[in-house]
Amino acid sequence: MLDPITVVILAVLAFIIMYMTVSAMKSRQEPLKRKVIVTQLKCGNCDYSERREFREGDYVGKGIGECPKCGGKLLVDAIYLEEVEGVPELGSAISISKQGQPPRKR
């Protein structure tokens, strides 16, 4: 027959092990995400649009150059922060996607 102190110690140990296991499982389930600032470009003339990573100096309404499709004025249409799944990488860049396609997921 086990004495009461041993039973209490074993119960506390079992609780700690269970708690740690559940916490570890929970953190493993959370998908890895990284945040990217996206600049969305849009032609003022036609339906051409593309997305690329934000570059310093970009602002909404800024003229970026000529539209590759019609030669019209290409403007920064939107800048926003987006979460993409994947491991954060140093100096990583999202792929340029055209016609409003979402960025490639890693």
Partner: protein
Amino acid sequence: MDGSNDWASTILVLLILGSFLLNFTDIPQKMQLWRYSSYIRKKIIQLTEIEDESKRKVIKYLSRLNVENPRKVLEGFIDNFFMISPVDIEPTDIIRRMRHLIRIRDDSIRKYVEENLPNATLVQRQNAEVLLEISSVLTLINKIVKHYFQLGLKYNNWILMMQLALELQQVVRLAKAYDDAMDSFMKGTPIGDGAGPLVAYYLKGDAEPVEISRETVYYLTEIEGRKVYVIKAKGPGSTVGWPGEAVEKIINDLGSSVSRIITVDAALKLESEKTGEVAYGVGAAIGDPGPEKIAIERAATKYGIPLDAVVIKMSNEEAINTMTKQIFEGVRKAIEIVKRIIKEKVPKDGIAVVVGIGNTVGIT
């Protein structure tokens, strides 16, 4: 005496002793004071790190703009430029007095930045003003936390310590958000609070800006066949402009021919609400201390013009950091709501005034 009786008497003695210590001494309070103070100390270290980090960021930004002594510029700003609220036990004229004080403060900050950054562009100076303000706020937060911590220790006030410890998690979260926001202003990306100006940007179409108040412009455009005056702060630098004064001027010019004033702004969401949710109602959607809001309300009331409000919901942290995709989607929804209000509530030959309220950093 057998073993079980021995255990029972030991536990009984421990219970009586424990009960005496808990009920008739200050030991539990002392222990709580010790526990909370050690927790607060750790959080103060964290806050100090955030404060130092913010200072490093400001110095880095100012150095990039070739400021000779950026540390001196920063030190000259922190703790200064406070504003004493106007007397409120005599409310006559309080708005006029408050507006006067706010503008004096704005002018002093602007002058200080102009003097110290003579070669910077307007956008760089506007962003530098905000960076200095954020760094100053972080210093103030840290000072206030230290003040209550030292007060609690001095008077052994464990209730004050407990309150402070319980609040600190939120305070640190806010401080981190302010620190992160500095990156947005350094890069010049639109922030969550820019939702209102972004709605105005999309609504203006190809119209040209006309400056109406300081750092505030309006665009005359046509939406759903109605003449619309779109007002926003002049970007892409960090400013909120003077939208109240701008509305006042336009309404005084156009009088009762204006059928509707629609204000669009970012609003703080409740915890249960989702970021980017859009809601509409009545009133002036603007979160200033008073003068700008009252100017819109007075102008609308003077001519009996209905006042609509459209809000895009977000958290405090999201409002001051780079605009998220959910907020951007909220902006799209808000544009549709504004267009619907114009279509349904403004007659074909009527005039509407749409005001995009908020910080226009990163939005021209």
